[in-house]
Symmetry: none
Subunit: 401 residues, 2 copies
């Protein structure tokens, strides 16, 4: 509830520490044969024990029926109404690879793709080319010059890159060139409002020059652009809550999200184990840590039930390392559900757990969607999770006389 | 959530079909002797089986404690905030009998009533005179002329009629003439705001001429008018959700409601069986169907517990005919509760069930208020039902990056 002005004077700074572990795509759905969800199938003694000592419930990321991307899913957990604070894909991706975005800049997410001799899309991800192939191509595209604009192309990972524009009179009001399906040509970028005219012209010129540069490539012979966006204006989380928040995330997009809400992003390695090392090393420096666990979502998105179960069991094995730090408040949350049977983000409420010196368990004996539905926290909007965390940490004082 | 601008781009048109069965007054309360509600008493094997395969929960029609009329109850299920989108009774009644309402027209719901020799009300419904008696009387009243206004009187059913006014400078800001109790005189219509002056004058003149025309009648010797209203401005449901919605309802008021939200109203017969025939015949023409079941509410309003049980059992017997169509999403919802022990609409949350290929049951084994309280959908505002329906039908895409 980052914009609830009336609570502003209730937040207080204290030495207590909060750790929010966001398990990407945490929630799932029952397997058609076993009728057990990924969490119910996984053997997770550490998570179960934690549940037995915690306050448990379910968070609704946005609204019933609304499956969020990671952006809205995370913003909600940080207390930002995801229907009000919108982040463009391009800006998120650019921040994720630590491009120093400035006011007025416009970024887009780029895909290398494959088109046939008539220019029709054959593969929207260019056969998922590896970074070794895409990095040199990004370097070639980075040489493109259009008018007076500063135009840069940055590799992200595999077939993905960021197009970054800086200059006068740019606007995010530009339509995407990705038709979202094969068998069609890439679309022309169009202005979605008069202020988007200049930017759409620059984008189309960039695409045209890219086509020429890439034409001899076997797989990555064209580009698609989406999510044109400028930096959103979000109130910094630290200011509102009177916190000194830090983020530890192995994946760029989540570092981008943390940047948007004003967290310090602490450099870390490529694995969750690296993240835990980073957390331990910097544990004295902050009073709020957001730490991100990716594998559950990746397995869910692949529709791999068994892999998601394994990812959750792997997570379970790391829980003792989190508990060793003895945070005053430990939360385990999810930005959204990613049921393996749907192979996609979904709208289903997500398990949420909070442990502090004020929680002692409440009859919930295992970590799952079904058992958490009967937890004492009930079903709350994800935007209210931070209020609970601050309260349990003694950082949210009595409201009203 | 018809007015959530930020979701507008998330709705997508697909070939999947949604059927929303609204059981009027679905919810109930336990009988004082058996301590079982109407739904718990009724033998409903088909509804129970459906519950075992579905996602279940309870909808709150407006707010806890607020018992809605059918108008707000239905609007909420279609995604319209019933506290924001208000419909006057007169407009609803007029639309229900397919009067072609135009902007600026004012309609009122009329009752024939019985007054004694001093003009005091003896029966507010004129002994529930049948349509055979009221239709000729409406024809007589229809001849009344006041000033320059186009004034029409249309029979509805039994003692009920619609007064419809068309002309310059009309307004719905007119008070009702029905004192809502016997032993009193009918009230004068008063302007509720300066713009209602002209209309209240016309209305009082109409009432005075009606009294004269009806004075020899034994039962229907006077009229009462309420719910003066103009056409409300509602965003069409089809536009927002990118749906092609149709309504099938045997009763006029529900057809009126469907018209207000921009559904196509498909003509049908007098019974729910007729409605199911109509649904089958037109099933290929639309991707969303609202179909209405009335008898549960009628029995509840009469305070007849046993009749409501029977009405629910009759409903149960029709479920196989709905399931034969294999809709991608089948919902069973109620616009409000009508507990027989209260003999009135109530505020109690209403059972809500949704079946799709993503639902597999969740331990709820019977169709009732009590068992649905433990369903996975929890307790949601009725306005969120459409979001769930669209999500399960693949018609609500991921929100945000």
């Amino acid at each position: 509830m980052i914009d609830l002005e009336v609570l502003k004077d209730s937040y207080v700074t204290t030495p207590s520490r909060i750790v929010m572990l966001v398990v990407d795509g945490l929630g799932g759905l029952p397997h058609p044969e076993t009728r057990k969800s990924e969490l119910e199938t996984a053997i997770t003694p550490n998570l179960d024990r934690l549940a037995q000592e915690s306050a448990c419930g379910l968070t609704v990321p946005v609204l019933p029926g609304v499956a969020p991307g990671s952006g809205p899913g995370h913003l909600a957990l940080f207390g930002y109404d995801p229907l009000k604070y919108l982040i463009g894909r391009g800006a998120l991706e650019a921040l994720g690879i630590e491009i120093d975005l400035q006011e007025g800049d416009v970024s887009a997410r780029g895909n290398f793709c494959t088109v046939d001799s008539q220019g029709l899309l054959v593969d929207r991800r260019a056969g998922r080319i590896p970074s070794e192939v895409s990095i040199p191509l990004c370097r070639d595209l980075d040489k493109i010059r259009v008018d007076e604009v500063e135009l840069r192309v940055y590799p992200v990972e595999g077939y993905r890159f960021v197009l970054h524009l800086r200059g006068q009179g740019l606007s995010e009001m530009v339509s995407e060139t990705d038709p979202q399906r094969t068998g069609m040509s890439a679309l022309e970028a169009r202005a979605l409002a008069p202020e988007g005219e200049k930017t759409s012209r620059i984008v189309n010129e960039f695409v045209s020059q890219s086509r020429e540069i890439l034409k001899e490539e076997e797989r990555a012979n064209m580009v698609l652009l989406r999510g044109f966006s400028s930096l959103p204006h979000l109130p910094p989380m630290g200011d509102t809550y009177k916190l000194n928040p830090a983020a530890i995330a192995a994946y760029p997009m989540y570092r981008g999200l943390a940047t948007i809400v004003g967290m310090r992003v602490i450099p870390t390695g490529k694995t969750f184990s690296d993240e835990l090392d980073t957390l331990r090393q910097h544990y004295q420096e902050h009073d709020f840590f957001y730490i991100h666990y990716k594998p559950a979502d990746a397995a869910g998105e692949d529709g791999n039930f068994e892999a998601k179960v394994k990812a959750l069991e792997a997570l379970d094995s790391y829980i003792p390392r989190l508990r060793e730090l003895e945070p005053d408040v430990l939360m385990i949350a999810g930005d959204h559900s990613t049921p393996a049977i749907m192979a996609a983000h979904s709208w289903h409420p997500v398990p949420f757990l909070l442990r502090s010196k004020w929680t002692r368990g409440e009859g919930v004996d295992s970590f799952s969607e079904r058992s958490f539905a009967n937890g004492s926290l009930g079903r709350i909007p994800a935007t209210q999770a931070m209020l609970l965390a601050l309260a349990h940490a003694g950082k949210l004082s009595k409201f009203g006389p």
